[in-house]
């Protein structure tokens, strides 16, 4: 499965929810599918997208938060799985695109290439619902399942180690940050 095809499958869901991505290919591909003010592309501090998503989900219990994480990022902050599992906000969906590779920096293999299993790690950490997907149809079904019934979910999706031609977004970091903040402020004032 190509990550961009997986993203395309669930784009209608992403449009409606608060989305936080890691840097690199995921950010560039989602941006190319269509930017929304409810998308925050965390262009650095690898590993912390899920922590940022946890803060959002705990603070906004009435909103669905979706984090788009990756194997390289998650491996840099494995403790986050234990924190997510401990507080398990039911409105948090943590998607991990696992391509066994640091594709954005040239494709060096990560530990998932030699047997580390992130879904099993999430289960062992105590994440209440762990799903896996290898095809776009499975991926869509898993996201639908996760969003239909509240419950903190980690979804590990196997994707190919390929990315877009360019990682540049035609959007300054701070422009994205202020737009996202203003969007969330307006959500709160209208609720």
């Amino acid at each position: 499965m190509l990550r961009v095809d997986a993203l395309r499958e669930i784009y209608p869901e992403l449009e409606r929810h608060i989305v936080v991505t890691i840097m690199g290919a995921v950010a560039a591909e989602l941006y190319a599918l269509g930017h929304r003010p409810n998308f925050f592309y965390m262009e650095h501090s690898m590993g912390l997208a899920s922590s940022l998503g946890l803060g959002l989900a705990l603070a906004l219990p009435g909103q669905q938060v979706i984090v788009l994480d990756g194997d390289g990022s998650l491996l840099m902050n494995l403790g986050t799985l234990t924190t997510l599992a401990r507080y398990r906000p039911p409105n948090l969906l943590h998607i991990v695109f696992d391509n066994s590779s640091l594709v954005s920096v040239g494709g060096f293999p990560t530990a998932t290439a030699s047997g580390t299993n992130l879904a099993e790690m999430a289960r062992a950490a105590g994440v209440p619902r762990v799903l896996e997907a290898e095809t776009p149809a499975q991926f869509r079904a898993a996201v639908t399942q996760a969003l239909a019934r509240p419950g903190m979910t980690t979804l590990v999706a196997r994707v190919e180690a390929s990315g877009p031609a360019s990682y540049r977004l035609d959007l300054d970091l701070l422009e994205n940050r202020f737009q996202f903040k203003r969007y969330l402020d307006s959500l709160r004032s209208s609720s």
Partner: protein
């Protein structure tokens, strides 16, 4: 030589006065009485992290969501959180209120705390993070409110250091 329960209660009251609703923390000896008070408070959410870096991500999420928060850690934990302070909080102009127990400074008896103690203030200065070392006679509510106000107006991390004289009851030297 116990942790000062009175000091912990004064800090907790200052957090209440700042309307802090989310407290992320990695517990350590000096911080336990304060975190027990936070945990028992129905209006505050305690999020215990496995590593201090997580706290900076949680801080950004809480800020975006409009929830007043503070992030409590030992100074060695602050040293562990430098990268996200730089590449998340400062890069994205996110206010983060840090409450840091200042080990390894005046009166320290544990040798293992001393190197971190020597480096805490120089590293804060190098990062351009404004900081204030609380003294026993301080109006803690005023100092915490000032730190919170500066973080929000500067869109920058600000640190309040919990010194031994605020949090520890030493025997007479």
């Amino acid at each position: 030589m116990p942790v000062s329960l009175e000091g912990a209660r004064r800090i907790y009251e200052a957090l209440k006065a700042c309307d802090i609703r989310l407290v992320s923390a990695l517990p350590e000896t000096w911080l336990v009485p304060l975190l027990r008070l936070v945990e028992a408070d129905q209006e505050m959410r305690l999020v215990q992290v496995a590593r201090e870096e997580e706290s900076i991500g949680i801080a950004a999420g809480a800020y975006f969501a409009g929830l007043p928060s503070i992030h409590v850690m030992q100074n060695h934990g602050f040293l562990a959180a430098i990268n996200p302070l730089v590449s998340l909080a400062m890069l994205y102009k996110i206010p983060v209120l840090l409450l840091i127990s200042y080990r390894g400074s005046w009166g320290e008896r544990d040798p293992w705390q001393t190197q971190g103690g020597l480096l805490t203030e120089p590293v804060l200065r190098a990062l351009t993070i404004p900081y204030y070392c609380l003294r026993r006679e301080d109006d803690l509510t005023r100092r915490l409110k000032e730190a919170q106000a500066l973080a929000l107006s500067a869109l920058h991390p600000v640190a309040v250091l919990l010194t031994r004289e605020v949090l520890w009851e030493d025997e007479e030297p």
